[in-house]
Symmetry: D2
Subunit: 339 residues, 4 copies
């Protein structure tokens, strides 16, 4: 196989990003088809413009097409597991956006199907491919940090989602911090064994009324003995705050935010520079490309995927344990929530 | 009173710092006397060279001298409370190094004595006077950060103390993190109400055998509703790591480490700069001067001290609660440890 | 006109960059044709892959095709002027790489042809579109810098070209510093009136034997009264060093280099970060896209181009004056070299 | 000799700095006397407070006192040379503020007297002792920069002096840039052989009417073959801008400005940090101490001084050549102005 022929399921924001990346920036991948149950004229034109052969309201059409090697699942979360199962059953390679499902049991069922079908499954934890965070991991792997002792992650969104979104999101741990659990496991090179979650409603009382929190501080313990902390806020007025720090026996590595430019303005009042890149579309633009290149090469060269379904499941467990910790006001072992 | 006439009790490392600062850098203060029960020739010469009139092995001599307005208690921790009580009884103003005592009950007794005597007591939490951390607080007070939501403190020493020191120290929370509890309360502008401590022995197994930990991550809740986190390590190979971050509804302020110079070296391999200033003597050199100026002015102008005995007690409670949390593996309310 | 149909002349390194940018990143532009007198199979496949309809060894074919609106001239410098004249004669809009020609007289002839034909001509001074340098200019235009008093430009290449290249290049002022003359004029918002050039052969004696210098420091005077300086080196071992500083009556703006990531590594030895992005392909990747978007929109919406043929001519004069200054060891007025 | 007994001549701003530094911060030096022809009560009290034994309106009194080893000349520039000659004649070691004199011939006469008397003379080019600039030099001496090819110095004052001061100052090259000529020679490790000066009156027309310029850009050539540039402005609204860059065959070192603290404030508008330390008293506070320590140790241990009278003379020649270059609009060899 020289080129991976892909079909994208779901033409929302993230589906379009993947579709464009596949069609424009990844020579060894091709956008063969797009399916969206709410397909509209604008989306159809977009897909055709990118060279898609099949444009349909029926995802099954992609699964049934023998000329499609892999599907990229970007539909709503509640459909992820079923599409994974169906795609695996059709012998397709699978890339699925996170989270796989809000139910860990359902995630396990989907992973079973993937395993039985012998196909590959990569989950869309794109931040592992970020140039900054990847560089920290490289330092660790090169031994420059020594034994990892502490992992610290700051992750704040520029603006909170609507209360309606929050109510359906599964909560801050599954909707937002799940990315950070993945980053923590990636940077520690070890599984999370216990979490303790402190949280508060400080940004928007509506979020509290929707049964969620908007500010969270979660302490982590890793199997390696290292400890960690993640802090999330739904609203940083200065933009998307995404920083990681890994501290160890031989050193530490810190990633600062990315800025739109390096200019500093010196005036009578102060020295002023740019705020961080606004949100994930800007900050992780290249990471989205790089995760898809990684997936493509895993298939073409029959290598392990960089972020497996099991990673998705472990991240889910951490999120569930954090929710339990917040509710029960005590540290919770990951083993308590495993199914 | 135009000049504060001070007597220093204890001529160890910190006593010498205060003595020199008083004699050289604070025109409105004078080093009138020094007392150290282990007084040696070198210390005597040092004190005489700074103009001390009384140099003695008997701290009581300083307390009995009517020409001494204030004492600076820099002796070993187990003597602090008794000297405070004696000094207050003698009508002296008191500056005392932290911690006041390892027993909260004894701290309360000392504070009672101070209160009854109507003298002032300032505790040596010097970091409040640091140029960086003070600047963050100014931003908060100016409203530029809005409502404080999250306080994050990183505090790592360049090298661990000896196991013998550790065994007598009262443990990492009282010996080391107590500074950070003070900083957290200072920056939050609110009292800590609950802590959760995770800890590990990752630096030196001897520290573990001495019954302590060397790596700690403590989650804080404040009365204001804000949350916080402090991480401590006994050993950062790159030097003294002292950073503070305050995040709020209108912005955030971050203090980076101080460096010995601003030079960047660009070579074929990398861009290289200096490590942080090595340890507290270098990093907080000016803060030690500024806390003594603040104490001096509080007395001369009859103003409240910047760091009160009650601050010392609250910091102690936080440390005790952290110890209890670590032991009992659960979040602990400060009220549980109050005496 | 909704889409600009372009033909690229010359499929070397820069021709390929423009071709790919047009085909992939600029929806309102289309790669209609490619012509290269040395066209090979690899280049033909590349152009076809990007959707080019005409792929030829005859640039005239592009000029003769009525379905081509604009040509992008990326051939060797000695052919630029003739292609501009031919393209203008054929009524095509023209984008031409810098320099237009090594002879100012020939440049003027080409500009005359463009003027007579009533077409637009944009010259490839891509750095004006750089996110950093553009931001400085925005600060100036917003009045935040006040009256511009000093412009400082540092511009160093990571490795010197071959002596053979140097011998045919027209020399460092025309080959390399011409970009900086353009940047200086752009940032000053004023024409250069006088230059003084100091130079040396410090990098490679072969460059000296080829009749050129490899290290240069050129002082500028602008019509506005501002002064400036540009320093060039053919070899900075740490990579492509591209910095600009504008200083004025109300402030200053400084652009630092771009880095591949923001990670800092703290070790026992030092704090280490990344070197600047290696060379112009990495550093100006987005600027090449943005200059082509700017050209496209100038044509589609009939606006002035951002970098005119006259800009190219003024930059050339500055380069010629610098050469004369170096040779005659005196400041040289731009008027002395105008033709 | 274990302690250097010094007498300060002149109790203006700089005299007071040196007096305080000697009395407070340099244990191996002592302030034995102060003389100021305009001595007032405030100055007398100040000197007595620092322990001065002799406080006089007669500098000759210091020179005549056998218990004074060295004099620190901080009087007005026009008296420097005479005091050097008298002090040397009296066998005193000499530290003299810059410039030695506005006349190079007179400087030479003073240096002759010093040589004949066999005493040491250090000139107050304090910036060589700056922690940042010294660090660059260390990198060069350690071979980390390779052969020095380019030296760039930015030096801007926060506010212009009065036109009256300007008129008596000897002009920007002697009054202000002389520090930068010294820095350039120090960093290049080589003598300046030629300068070209461009200048303008952009800050204050009064300065122009006083016969001076307020903005200058001076190109340097060094005996080593390296080239350099210095830019001066009498007014940077954001404060004292003092930066140095040394570029060579193996790398480059850059010193940024010092800031009062490291805090960054992130708001909805921008990321804001502090302006540079305001002026030379703040920025070079420690450098003033360190130059005096260096002088003291040179005498006590009979070592060469770090900044000699010959350095002062070479700096003067560079300043004179720059003035000539500005006037004659051509590069000027240092040899043209030597006397």
């Amino acid at each position: 196989m020289e080129v991976l022929r892909t079909g994208v399921i779901g033409a929302g924001r993230i589906g379009k990003i993947h579709g464009e990346n596949i069609a424009r920036f990844i020579p060894q991948s091709r956008l063969e088809g797009l399916a969206d149950i709410h397909l509209g004229a604008e989306q159809e034109a977009w897909a055709r413009g990118l060279g898609a052969r099949i444009v349909s309201k029926e995802p099954e059409e992609l699964l049934a097409d023998p000329a499609i090697d892999a599907v990229i699942i970007c539909s709503s979360t509640d459909t992820h597991a079923d599409f994974i199962i169906a795609a695996a059953g059709a012998g397709k390679q699978v890339f699925c956006e996170k989270p796989i499902d809000l139910s860990a049991a359902k995630v396990r069922t989907a992973l079973e199907a993937v395993k039985n079908a012998g196909v590959k499954l990569q989950i869309g934890f794109n931040r592992r491919f970020d140039h900054n965070f990847r560089r920290i991991r490289e330092h660790t792997l090169a031994g420059e940090i020594g034994q990892v002792q502490v992992v610290k992650i700051t992750s704040r969104d520029p603006a909170p989602p609507s209360p309606a979104y929050v109510a359906a999101s599964g909560g801050i741990f599954i909707d937002m911090m799940i990315h950070d659990f993945d980053m923590a496991r990636f940077q520690a090179g070890s599984e999370i064994t216990e979490v303790y979650a402190a949280g508060a409603v400080l940004v928007d009382p509506e979020i509290g009324r929707a049964g969620d929190i908007d500010t969270a501080m979660v302490t982590l313990r890793f199997a390696s003995g290292a400890i960690g902390v993640i802090d999330n806020s739904r609203k940083a007025v200065y933009g998307y705050d995404q920083r990681v720090e890994v501290f160890g026996s031989r050193g530490a590595a810190l990633a600062e935010n990315d800025l739109p430019n390096t200019v500093k303005l010196y005036t009578e009042d102060a020295v002023t520079g740019e705020k961080p890149l606004y949100f994930f579309l800007e900050r992780y633009r290249q990471a989205f490309v790089d995760e898809m290149i990684s997936f493509t090469e895993s298939i073409l060269h029959n290598k392990s995927v960089a972020v497996s379904g099991e990673d998705g499941l472990e991240n889910m467990y951490a999120a569930l344990a954090a929710g339990k910790s917040l509710k029960e006001k005590r540290p919770v072992l990951i083993d308590e929530v495993r199914v």
